[in-house]
């Protein structure tokens, strides 16, 4: 089925999210839509899927104009979507999720579970998925959940399949696997729309590439275009894809973690007997697929986890057992992985957020009252230094873009005397320009002699920042390898296996020389 969008325009108030977008996707073709966060890709797809109504423009399938009042209409017309945030009900089984909305029923609306199971098995075997129709979604790893999303779309005979940022949650191996599934579907005649901001993936599978920026189509590119060409088209200027950095000059071990174990409320060892050291002036990246204990590890360092065994020592001072206040006072800077949840108070202004962790003493508060003048001077200076783009320091943080919000977090954490910086997913959801900025700041912190721990699920980021890489899997550290280790090896370790050649643990000072 051929999909054609003609002059789609969607406005939210004064913001034009899609400005006369036109594109055509042929059957048997993978059409990539490349663009930064906020370029309008998701809006466009929500219009296509009937979740939003376009202000102007039309959608044509095989040259017939369509009107979608809701996702139901789009599905009936043959459009399927694999959502970025899976649209699966965690407490339902695979079969129940697949049949929801078009259940086959017997007498009095009784569900025909067997038919639904057979359908799941049929589609999974056709594409070589290994999915148990009776498994509960919440028990499945994200890679498998994504396959359930694909099965869900295929079970409704989707002829046009939209993948919205599908690789954000996958391991490199799962990503490769998804790419081959997409190729398989393409060869079976499905028209595929693949939305992403990851250049590598685009070049691997795309037959055609449309680049969007600020709600407009800014150009088409061929899959043979170089990363730098695609990136500059996407951002509108040339960007440095890798941060420029000097080799690390590691000093003495600063953070020493020994036998660290974190137990969650149902008794699982989410962090399992972990040992590592971070030296002053080096970046230790903790790589791994989301959910293998990285979050709990960083929270344990901060004192946010209640059931912790083992030792975390910073410059010889024990941090375990201290409350968060004391840990921060010991000089730990923390960039949490979810800045909206843990990093910022959205309703508070930039100035208020910048002093959040120092409200209980001089110079921000004296005798219980806030020193507003000092706060404002401080905020004005930091906003300039960290290039936060906002109308004023009184703007609520919630109204800023993701990149600017993260700059506020960075500004707060980096403007204290730090003895350790812990950055969890510091560039998640940011645009290329902001990623560049954050990476530069992290490297600057390193070069000033601060030990840095960066948790990242993105290998590009690990590659850009790490002097050494620790790979976590199921709560344990599989191994610690030098920075610049190839993706293949890291991928193997992220799946829990030791690489063929035992990784040299090494003294970081030796490697740097």
């Amino acid at each position: 089925m051929k999909l054609e969008l003609r002059g789609i325009t969607k406005r939210f108030g004064s913001l034009t999210a899609n400005d006369h977008i036109s594109l055509t996707v042929e059957p048997g073709e993978i059409h990539c839509i490349l663009g930064e966060n906020g370029a309008g890709k998701s809006t466009l797809m929500n219009v296509l899927y009937g979740l939003l109504e376009a202000d102007e423009g039309e959608i044509l399938l095989d040259d017939v104009e369509q009107r979608f009042d809701g996702p139901g209409d789009a599905m009936k017309a043959g459009i399927g979507m694999v959502h970025q945030h899976f649209m699966l009900i965690p407490v339902f089984t695979v079969a129940e999720n697949v049949m929801l909305g078009h259940e086959s029923t017997g007498f009095a609306g009784f569900l025909n579970q067997n038919q639904a199971r057979a359908r799941v098995r049929d589609i999974s075997s056709r594409f070589g998925f290994d999915v148990d129709p009776d498994a509960l979604i919440e028990d499945l790893p994200v890679g498998v959940q994504q396959r359930v999303e694909i099965i869900k779309a295929l079970s409704r005979d989707a002829k046009v399949l939209v993948f919205d940022e599908p690789t954000a949650v996958l391991t490199p191996q799962e990503t490769d696997e998804l790419m081959s599934i997409m190729k398989q579907l393409r060869d079976a005649g499905t028209a595929i729309v693949f939305i992403t901001h990851k250049l590598r993936e685009v070049r691997e599978v795309a037959d055609r590439i449309t680049v969007m920026r600020l709600g407009k189509v800014v150009g088409e590119a061929s899959p043979s275009a170089s990363n730098a060409e695609l990136a500059s088209l996407m951002v509108g200027r040339s960007v440095e894809l890798t941060v420029q950095k000097q080799p690390a000059k590691p000093g003495e071990p600063a953070l020493t973690v020994k036998g660290l174990t974190v137990v969650d409320p149902i008794g699982q060892l989410v962090v399992n007997n972990v040992d590592f050291e971070v030296h002053a002036g080096e970046v230790l990246a903790i790589a791994g697929v989301q959910g293998n204990g990285q979050t709990e590890l960083t929270e344990a360092i901060l004192g946010l986890q209640p059931r912790v065994k083992g030792s975390i020592a910073l410059d010889g001072k024990e941090l375990t057992g201290l409350n968060v206040r004391k840990v921060l006072d010991a000089g730990v800077g923390f960039i949490p992985e979810d800045r909206n949840e843990d990093g910022l108070v959205a309703e508070f202004s930039i100035a208020e957020n910048l002093m959040l962790d120092r409200a209980d003493g001089a110079p921000f508060a004296k005798g219980g009252s806030l020193q507003l003048r000092f706060r404002n001077t401080f905020a004005t200076e930091k906003v300039r230094e960290f290039d936060v783009r906002a109308q004023s320091i009184d703007t609520p943080v919630g109204t800023l873009s993701g990149g600017n919000q993260q700059k506020v977090v960075l500004a707060r954490e980096l403007s204290r005397e730090l003895r350790l910086l812990v950055a969890a997913q510091p560039t998640r959801g940011l645009d290329v320009g902001s990623i560049e900025f954050v990476h530069k700041r992290v490297i600057e912190a390193r070069d000033s002699g601060i030990p840095v721990v960066v948790v990242s699920t993105e290998l590009d980021e690990v590659d850009a920042l790490a002097d050494r890489i620790a790979v976590m899997y199921r709560g344990g550290i599989v191994g610690i390898v030098p920075g610049g280790t190839d993706r293949e090896t890291l991928g193997i370790m992220m799946a829990g296996e030791q690489p063929e050649t035992p990784a040299p643990q090494g003294d970081p000072r030796g490697e740097a020389a």
């Binding site: 899927y49 979740l51 809701g70 996702p71 139901g72 209409d73 599905m75 009936k76 979507m81 959502h83 899976f86 649209m87 699966l88 009900i89 965690p90 407490v91 339902f92 129940e96 999720n97 049949m99 929801l100 909305g101 078009h102 259940e103 029923t105 009095a108 609306g109 009784f110 569900l111 290994d130 028990d139 499945l140 790893p141 890679g143 498998v144 869900k152 391991t171 191996q173 799962e174 490769d176 696997e177 137990v263 409320p265 149902i266 008794g267 699982q268 060892l269 989410v270 399992n272 959910g291 293998n292 199921r474 709560g475 293949e488 991928g491 193997i492 799946a495 829990g496 296996e497 063929e500």
Partner: protein, 431 residues
């Protein structure tokens, strides 16, 4: 694994973490406290004489012979068993992770037996078991209807605090319509309508206008209370013969089943509304978990956006299921006026809707478990009447508290943190 090709096979198994054992001491502590309480009540403040239990028959069922137990001896034996069981629960905890539910249930049953033996001891009047259970079922009827409505509503994503108001409205309209028409059937239909009308207010504010559902629910309860009080004093009280004199629903014995001793008169010689309740429990359970209706209802209560993306009308599904829940609760309200009392009086539900709400949570949003919870609360409520009637030494003020104490213990002590429907209480706002 020696070749790299094999390594590229993605790991499809879930992340399985090593487990350590987190032992919850809650159950053994509770059992131990109860065991100590047993020693204090049944041994230190022991009562002599005999305790007589009677098992009266019904219109069809025969009576069973009465049982006479020596009060002190029975209480001491049961206390010893309770103490041993409490001690054994610590041993179970040391060996495995959890004390099983059946163990706690047997413990609770033995404690209740010991308590009844003690309370009706010292040659006081015989304790009528049949009427104790019959009363428990009768008092449970509004709780069960209320809990079923609560389960349906919350499973579809709308917190239903308004159970109380729906019960009261059902009771009022059923009494008025049945009196005016002289037809019990029209009274039942009127109760359904009353429940649905109250639900419409909840649904409109909660689903359409995204008002906080707890606040809307509480306001509705106050509104219905005020409205029925007003109408009662201004309308019903002016001509009670015509407006507030509904026919009582007759008991219909079910042939065969009603002849079983004790169980027959308790469960199978009841009015039509109780039989409707049995059907409702089964229908809600089967409907929720085995039909398309239930799958869609649960989907909008768990993850409305996911339901929306597969073409389910979230707003409509919620609206009609909240209305259906109101109809069921309204029917429970009719039981007050048509089933037990025989006329409407001010605030006659007296907070029972809130106990039904507790049964929903105690029953973990499952219709069958919620029904069992409602029965437990009904039993606790009736215990106060029965014990007062046999002349037990427990102060009547304490007995009045009993149902609420049991409710608090049940919800706070035994349930703790449970996971309800994920989107319950959250309005679905399309972006």
């Amino acid at each position: 694994m020696t070749t790299t090709a094999e390594h590229t096979v993605p790991d499809a198994t879930p992340i399985v973490l090593e487990k350590t054992v987190v032992r919850s001491r809650k159950t053994p502590i509770t059992l131990s406290v109860v065991a100590v309480l047993s020693i204090v009540l049944f041994v230190i403040f022991r009562r002599g004489g005999d305790t007589t239990f009677t098992f009266a028959g019904g219109r069809v069922a025969p009576s069973l012979p009465q049982v006479v137990l020596p009060t002190t001896l029975t209480c001491v034996i049961l206390t010893v068993v309770l103490v041993l069981m409490a001690a054994a629960s610590w041993w179970i905890l040391a060996r495995r992770t959890k004390v099983p539910l059946w163990y706690s249930s047997v413990f609770a049953f033995l404690f209740v037996v010991a308590f009844l033996t003690w309370a009706a001891g010292a040659n006081s009047r015989p304790l009528p078991i049949t009427s104790l259970l019959l009363g428990a079922v009768s008092l449970s009827v509004p709780y069960i209807f209320g809990a079923l409505g609560g389960v349906l509503s919350e499973r579809s994503g709308v917190v239903n605090i308004a159970i109380e108001g729906q019960l009261l409205a059902g009771a009022f309209l059923a009494a008025m319509v049945a009196s005016m028409t002289g037809s019990m059937w029209l009274g039942l239909v009127a109760a359904l309508v009353a429940g649905v009308l109250v639900s419409f207010i909840l649904a409109a504010f909660a689903i359409k206008y995204y008002v906080d559902q707890v606040i809307v629910g509480v306001v509705i309860n106050v509104l219905v209370l005020g409205l029925t009080n007003f109408l009662y004093s201004q309308v019903l009280a002016k001509d009670p013969e015509f407006l507030n004199n509904p026919p009582l629903l007759p008991a219909i014995p079910i042939p065969g089943l009603s002849a079983i001793p004790v169980i027959g008169p308790v469960l199978f010689d009841q009015s039509i509304i109780v039989y409707l309740m049995y059907i409702a429990v089964v229908a809600v359970y089967v409907g929720l978990f085995h039909t398309r209706w239930g799958l869609r209802l649960r989907s909008v209560g768990e993850h409305p956006q996911a339901a929306d993306t597969v073409g389910i009308n979230v707003t409509g599904t919620r609206f009609w299921n909240v209305s259906l829940a109101g109809a069921i609760v309204g029917l429970g309200g009719a039981y007050f006026t048509l089933g037990s009392v025989g006329s409407f009086s001010e605030d006659m539900t007296g907070g029972q809707g809130y106990i039904a709400l507790a049964a929903v949570i105690f029953g973990r949003w499952d219709p069958v478990r919620a029904t069992l919870a409602a029965l437990l609360f009904g039993f606790a409520s009736n215990l106060q009447y029965t014990l007062a009637a046999v002349g037990s030494p427990v102060p009547s003020e304490f007995l009045l508290m009993l149902p609420y104490v049991v409710t608090i213990l049940a919800v706070a002590g035994f349930v703790g943190y449970v996971r309800g429907p994920a989107a319950s209480g959250k309005p679905y706002i399309k972006s």
